[in-house]
């Protein structure tokens, strides 16, 4: 019996002690007609060997392409030590650290994680993580509504350059609480338009959401946006890429006062692409807002003998105590993902992270230049970008990308498929430090070939 250790003698002994004659007798409080019939929809069990044969074949089906897709999930080198350590049974199979004395490993690690995130974002406080960047933004929005005591508004202002899937996620999570999102349009440079922003002057919103870099890869003028929002009495929610923060200005240093909440996707910090998860959302804030923070927070304290130790703190905000008045219903942090990220950040240090960020940027610029040299292809990069940029093709992007995929190059995403972008010829391309000059040349060739072979694709 898979993973059930009972021998026949064990079972008989246990039934005798309980005083029943069969296991079925233990279900005698359940009405007979409710008992399930056999599970026809479930296949026969497999041995581990058979299972691995099936799974290897399936994994192989999806493997082998050169990937230039970004849009919120980024391919980076992951040091071997990261997952070797994270998947030690003591980390991987531990429960939530409610019994602090028996969980000092996880607790100290999360404290160190919180410290690193505060450093990277230049904020005061970090929690132990949320599910992912998009749902993390939803929590940030709820937090801003609660935390902005100057504003009575249940409206949030957000940039059209925010990741469209983040916007969708936030909407599904917050609209049931009568919170509305309004969007400031972008200018031709694919950044928040200052003109459009002026129209919101003097209106009551709880917060402004500023993505940096934004969905199109472009760098927003975060200092001006932050100061503008604060002048309107809004809080500032920064949505940032953690890799980029080793290179560009961190939310805590935006404008005169800094952002109030910083949130983002932690995946670039040592997590594989893995079809979208598990990743983790990081969320940091100013100490003023700490009581509004959702989720777990670890604090450093002393034990009965005066030894340093770590424990869950500020638990009275959480659902298991506050129930219907909790800051959120969340009772998970992405512990294992955070374990990996903490090891990753430790190995690289600030210097290493900076090198990764600079290599991404330099590589992306190289590819942008290569592509701009193809006839009919235009790189829409008026503003500076980090490691993603938008390209205008002479025909529909989805068709071009399909043909490139047949040559095992996943060239990016067609913007019209993901966002409300009306122009079907736009695509978003990402380059990280993992791409060699040969890879970039291969991309250029694949794009050229694809453009040359206009016509149908059979997939």
């Amino acid at each position: 019996m898979p993973f059930i250790p009972h021998t026949d003698q064990d079972i008989q002994k246990m039934l005798d002690v309980i005083g029943v004659s069969s296991i079925d007798d233990l279900f005698d409080e359940i009405p007979k007609h409710l008992r399930a019939k056999s599970l026809d929809g479930v296949p026969e069990g497999r041995s581990e060997m058979e299972m691995m044969q099936l799974m290897s074949a399936r994994a192989q089906q999806d493997a082998g392409a050169l990937c230039f897709i970004g849009a919120g999930a980024y391919e980076h080198h992951i040091p071997a030590a990261v997952w070797d350590i994270a998947t030690r049974g003591e980390f991987m199979t531990a429960y939530t650290p409610y019994q602090a004395e028996a969980s000092q490993g996880t607790l100290q690690l999360i404290y160190e994680y919180q410290s690193m995130m505060c450093q990277l974002t230049a904020m005061d406080v970090s929690n132990a993580s949320l599910y992912d960047g998009a749902s993390g933004l939803a929590e940030a929005v709820l937090m801003a509504i609660r935390g902005n005591r100057k504003s009575k508004s249940r409206k949030i202002l957000t940039a059209a350059s925010l990741h469209p899937l983040y916007e969708k996620t936030v909407k599904s999570i917050v609209t049931n609480q009568d919170i509305q999102l309004e969007t400031v349009v972008c200018g031709d440079d694919l950044r928040v338009s200052q003109d459009a922003l002026a129209a919101y002057e003097g209106q009551d919103y709880a917060a402004l959401v500023i993505p940096q870099p934004n969905f199109y890869g472009a760098l927003e003028d975060v200092n001006a946006l932050t100061d503008w929002a604060h002048a309107q009495g809004m809080l500032v929610i920064a949505v940032v890429n953690p890799t980029a923060l080793a290179l560009i200005s961190p939310p805590g240093e935006w404008g005169a006062q800094g952002a109030d909440i910083a949130v983002g996707e932690g995946q670039p910090l040592g997590l594989p692409l893995a079809s979208g998860g598990p990743y983790f959302g990081f969320i940091c804030c100013t100490s003023k807002l700490v009581r509004q923070m959702p989720g777990r927070i670890i604090g450093r304290t002393l034990d009965m003998d005066g030894r340093e130790g770590f424990t869950l703190t500020l638990q009275a905000r959480e659902q298991h105590i506050r129930r219907s008045k909790a800051t959120s219903n969340i009772c998970t942090n992405q512990g294992l993902a955070v374990t990996a990220a903490t090891v990753y950040m430790t190995l690289l240090g600030f210097e290493g992270l900076g090198r990764v960020a600079r290599a991404c940027h330099v590589n992306a610029k190289k590819l942008a230049e290569l592509l701009a040299s193809i006839e009919g292809v235009r790189v829409l990069s008026d503003a500076a970008f980090f490691h993603e940029f938008v390209v205008e093709l002479p025909e529909k992007a989805d068709l071009v990308l399909k043909r490139m995929a047949q040559a095992s190059v996943l060239g990016g995403i067609a913007l019209s498929e993901l966002s409300g972008q009306a122009n079907p010829n736009l695509m978003l391309v990402c380059v990280t430090e993992t791409k060699t000059d040969d890879d970039l040349a291969k991309y250029r060739d694949a794009l050229e070939t694809s453009l040359a072979s206009k016509g149908d694709v059979s997939c």
Binding site: F3, H6, M14, G19, I23, L34, R35, S38, D40, G41, M51, M55, R58, D62, G64, A73, A81, G89, F91, M92, T93, Y95, E101, T106, Q108, Y111, E112, S115, L120, A122, V125, S126, D132, L165, S172, N176, A246, S249, G276, G277, P278, V290, G299, T301, L302, Q319, H320, S324, S328, N329, I330, C331, T332, G335, A337, T346, G349, E351, L353, L418
Partner: protein
């Protein structure tokens, strides 16, 4: 010692970063970072040693018996982890084209089908990233259903008082008011109170069955009738699904929507507090509202093709809950677990988890411990109340819990459900052998003797852990949640 207190300025794992290359002078100076972040400055060996040593300060399933009630800490098969970590799965970008995703999509589709069958429901979405998000999705669907019918008067969610704290917190996140109803002394819901609470303002009820009292709610069909007659829907919190896996299906009990915790019932690792995965399953009438994306299949002569179903395909969906599609790697592990066990294996989960709990409960009772519901059959978990010990010996459930750590056992869930004083909620799971179960009971007997002869010994526990009991008051009053380099 913190990682920040080790190492030297300028040190890092040099082989892990690219060589310093190229200029970034195209980025405007005012957008560049000016102050470096004070990150750790250690070598690769220092990193490995630091975190390996930290890991040794943890209890875990791989090292200890972990009988946490309502948490289902069963063995996490290494094979599932290995399969989900195959390079083809790890390298797949979440937005990769369907042409390069058929292997992954096939696994997701088949897990959806398996979960439909084990729950007796019509549709499944694997999007929610944890139980609490599954609850959110479920209640949001209930709301979408009522609103689509223009039934705007429904403003309340009923929750039995024994419910987990996420239930009321979730109802509020979905814009509902919470009405708590009492639980009788035998552990079942007070039907009269339910009858009074249910009405045209009722959107639904959230329940677990078996309940958090560790007993099967025998009146489930009456509850279903009362709530449905009032026009409300039934939400099943899958926290305790392990108890009935393969034995009873929530769909057959009358539930309209449920979430499962794959990190409990389908043996995916807890990871020190996550990631989890909380798929939702629904009956026919909630199908249009499932969160997206979902995986669909089309069959043609040359074989099956799998494809995403998104908001365009399900226009009434409550929408997306994450940027991509949930905790994909956890979904893969759960799929592997399901196909390793297969039909027969899944059937045995409920049986053997129940056998283990009843055996332990009987041993505990024979040893003189007080069960909270002695006249009831235990399910996959049971409650012991240490109220007598607390009153007569001054030794509380917390003290027993801490002392258990010294005996090498993780403490059961303590002080939950709130309505049983000084309680232990004990869930052994089906993957533990009789030796472990007996060892735990023997430890409890030994601690009981200690409590009688030298209470102070138990009250000072633990002694064997890296730290003794921590000063939670200091932690909250003098908040230190991030290291500051001095």
């Amino acid at each position: 010692m913190l990682i920040f207190e080790k190492g030297q300025p300028g040190r890092f794992a040099t082989s892990q970063a690219p060589k310093a290359s190229g200029k970034c002078d195209d980025i405007p100076a005012e957008l560049m970072r000016k102050t470096p972040a004070a990150m750790p400055e250690v070598s690769e060996l220092q990193t490995v040693r630091h975190f390996t040593n930290l890991s040794r300060k943890n209890f875990s399933i791989d090292t200890q018996f972990y009988p946490l009630g309502s948490c289902t800490m069963k063995y996490n098969p290494r094979g599932a982890h290995k399969a989900a970590s195959l390079p083809g799965f790890l390298a797949r970008h979440p937005l990769a084209p369907e042409s390069h995703s058929q292997g992954y999509l096939a696994c997701v589709y088949e897990l959806q089908e398996i979960l439909k069958d084990v729950t007796g429901m019509a549709g499944v979405s694997l999007c929610p990233m944890a139980g609490a998000q599954g609850e959110f999705a479920g209640v949001a669907m209930i709301r979408a259903y009522h609103e689509a019918r223009q039934d705007h008067a429904r403003s309340e969610i009923i929750v039995p008082e024994a419910a987990h704290g996420t239930n009321p917190a979730t109802a509020v996140m979905c814009g509902y008011k919470v009405v708590e109803i009492p639980v009788r002394t035998d552990g079942d819901v007070d039907l009269e109170a339910l009858q009074q609470a249910a009405g045209p303002q009722t959107a639904g009820i959230m329940m677990t069955n078996p309940s958090t009292c560790g007993v099967f709610e025998r009146q489930i069909e009456d509850i279903s009738r009362i709530v449905h007659e009032a026009g409300g829907l039934l939400y099943y919190d899958g926290a305790n699904l392990n108890a009935i896996l393969g034995k009873v299906r929530p769909g057959d009990m009358g539930f309209d929507v449920l979430h499962m915790n794959l990190h409990k019932t389908f043996a995916t690792p807890h990871g020190g507090g996550g990631p989890g995965s909380g798929p939702v399953a629904v009956g026919e009438r909630l199908l249009p509202y499932l969160p997206t994306p979902i995986v669909g299949r089309s069959d043609a002569e040359n074989g099956s093709r799998y494809h995403w179903l998104d908001q365009d395909d399900l226009p009434d969906s409550i929408g997306r809950l994450s940027a991509f599609m949930g905790n994909a790697g956890i979904i893969l592990r759960a799929y592997v677990y399901a196909i390793l066990l297969g039909r027969e294996g899944l059937h045995r989960v409920g049986e053997f988890s129940t056998l283990n709990a009843n055996y332990m409960a009987t041993l505990m009772q024979q040893a003189g411990f007080q069960l909270a519901y002695p006249e009831r059959r235990a399910t996959h978990e049971f409650i012991v109340t240490l109220n007598k010990q607390a009153k007569e010996l001054g030794v509380t459930a917390m003290d027993f819990a801490k002392r258990l750590l010294d005996f090498g056992y993780h403490a059961p869930t303590t002080y939950f459900p709130l309505l049983v004083p000084e309680c232990f909620l004990i869930e052994p799971t089906e993957t533990e052998s009789i030796d472990e179960l007996e060892g735990f009971v023997e430890a409890m007997i030994a601690i009981q003797k200690e409590a009688e002869s030298s209470a102070e010994l138990v009250k000072g526990a633990p002694y064997s852990q890296p730290v003794k009991r921590l000063d939670d008051v200091k932690a909250a009053r003098e908040l230190d949640v991030a290291y500051q380099r001095s």
